[in-house]
Amino acid sequence: MSLLRRLVVPTYLSQALTRFSCKNNVDRLFSALFLPKNAYRMVSTTTTKFDLMEFFDDKKNWGEGTVRTGRSWTKDELRLKSNTDIHKLWYILLKEKNMLLTMEQACKDESELFPNPERIDKVAESMTNLEEVVRERNRAYYLLETGTTGERPGAEEENFLGLPEYSQFNEYPVPKEENKDYLKAKSEEPVVHPSEKAWFLVRLNEKRIKQKRWERREARKGVKEIIEHFPDVDRELIKEKFPDINVERVIERTNNRHLGNIKPKTFKWNRC
């Protein structure tokens, strides 16, 4: 790092001059690298476009009520493409997303209607699909060659509440046993007694049971409503839609509501 700094200070002005006198992107790039001109590598760049207007849509779409666009790229379609094509597509999608977000904000500033806001969701969907395809390919290589996925490692550990929590690992230059800062921070972490964790887990379980009970009750009510409104409905279909409910029992209770569910009227002579 210090060697580089010694080189930068005296040659700064001449470097700036050479940069501005360069004809194309590649020359400009190399003038910043302190390499002689004949040490070229194959570096490809886009055509020079110093145009901030790329952040905006085509002028013919300005003020339009609708802008027609196709659907997003599906994963199957992206899996057919080579890695270089996918690489280029990512930047095309990124630029398009930036353009759409700029247009959305510009329309908000002018209190205008932003046409077809689903375009942003379409581009975002394409980008998530693209990332997933790239991750698939990398995972395949790493699993074949190393046995691990090659993605950021992590582990499911018990957190301070006693609940399993997946935490991602961090990268360190030294092993855990030699990392003094890490070990110090870990020792300073508050320790929760297992009895406290158990106290919490019991109550959390109670809450979960209550929630499940509520869900089942709501489902039973749903079945009852359907039977009340549509007595001839297909029973098998209801059982498929509500697999955790005893549909026959709900139907029985719905139909026999008059038997035993109503408190009998008490008269004076009946009270004892």
Binding site: R41, M42, V43, S44, D58, R68, T69, G70, R71, S72, W73, E77, R79, L80, K81, S82, N83, T84, D85, I86, H87, E96, P117, E118, D121, K122, A124, E125, V134, R137, N138, Y141, Y142, L144, E145, G150, R152, P153, F169, N170, E171, Y172, P173, V174, P175, K176, Y182, W214, E215, E218, A219, K221, E225, I226, H229, F230, V233, D234, L237, K241
Partner: protein
């Protein structure tokens, strides 16, 4: 049953709006599901997507599907207050598509045949063009004019208010889905045994009438370019292939790092 609005919706059980949308609705819309969910939901407050916050959403969880589609402003206005949910009969197979010839069985237009103009699967509704209509007054009544009347169709229930018409003898029939020898799933009339083909406007979407007639825009990738296969699987990662194609040579070996 007293209906109370909930502070936090039980979306884990009730599901999102897109989970309740019918297949035909999604197909006709041709919109990303994330967009439909985003525009349709009525969220009063949502915690920011940051690690110090729990995922909590103050949402009006109960929505009513109407003749207006969920991504429209009219639907939002109709759903700005939670209303008692409508009980919809579950149907196993959906038999009615846009462009089908049906007979109306109830109302003033009973016995008449019409073409299905709109399908709303979430309510088991069908709109038949020109039939089961009523008049409603439209237009401003403030400038001296009394407005003017417009004929608008009322929805018909698929279960008992309409019936499919067999094109071979123009009479109503019940229908079953069966498979042909080629493995194609088709509707078969239970009375005559003939196949009732799906109408072409059943595959229409908001963007196009048929995929073949869709006019590709400037930013749309052409179909043949999309289908072209140029992926050659090699024993390289994505990064390695890109570096190779760009001529980036990296001789440096990363120092050993530890993950924990």
């Amino acid at each position: 049953m007293r209906f109370t609005t909930r502070l936090y919706s039980a979306t884990a059980w009730k599901g999102t709006i897109t989970g309740k949308l019918g297949e035909l609705t999604k197909r006709y819309a041709n919109l990303p599901e994330a967009y439909i969910q985003r525009t349709a939901e009525q969220v009063e407050f949502q915690t920011p997507n940051r690690r110090e916050y729990q995922n909590k959403k103050l949402e009006q969880g109960v929505y009513r599907f109407t003749a207006n589609r969920p991504w429209t402003d009219e639907w939002k206005r109709q759903n700005d207050k939670a209303r008692r949910p409508v009980v919809v009969e579950p149907i196993r197979d959906w038999n009615f598509f846009r462009g089908d010839r049906v007979e109306v069985l109830v109302g003033r237009d009973r016995g008449k045949h019409g073409i299905v103009s709109q399908v709303i699967q979430e309510r088991n509704w069908i709109f038949v063009a020109g039939l089961n209509t009523h008049l409603r007054r439209v237009g401003s009544r403030q400038e001296g004019s009394a407005g003017f009347y417009v004929k608008s169709e009322a929805p018909l229930l698929v279960t008992n208010q309409v019936a499919l018409v067999d094109p071979s003898d123009n009479k109503t029939t019940k229908v079953e889905w069966r498979f042909t020898e080629d493995g194609e799933r088709v509707r078969v009339s239970l009375r005559t045994g003939r196949i009732i083909p799906l109408p072409p406007s059943g595959f229409e979407t908001w963007d196009y009438k048929t995929p073949e007639t869709y006019l590709e825009g400037d930013k749309d990738t052409k179909a043949d370019v999309v289908k072209a296969v140029n992926f050659r699987p090699t024993l390289k990662t994505f990064e390695m292939e890109i570096m190779e194609s760009m001529g980036i040579i990296e001789h440096r070996v990363p120092k050993k790092s530890y993950w924990y």
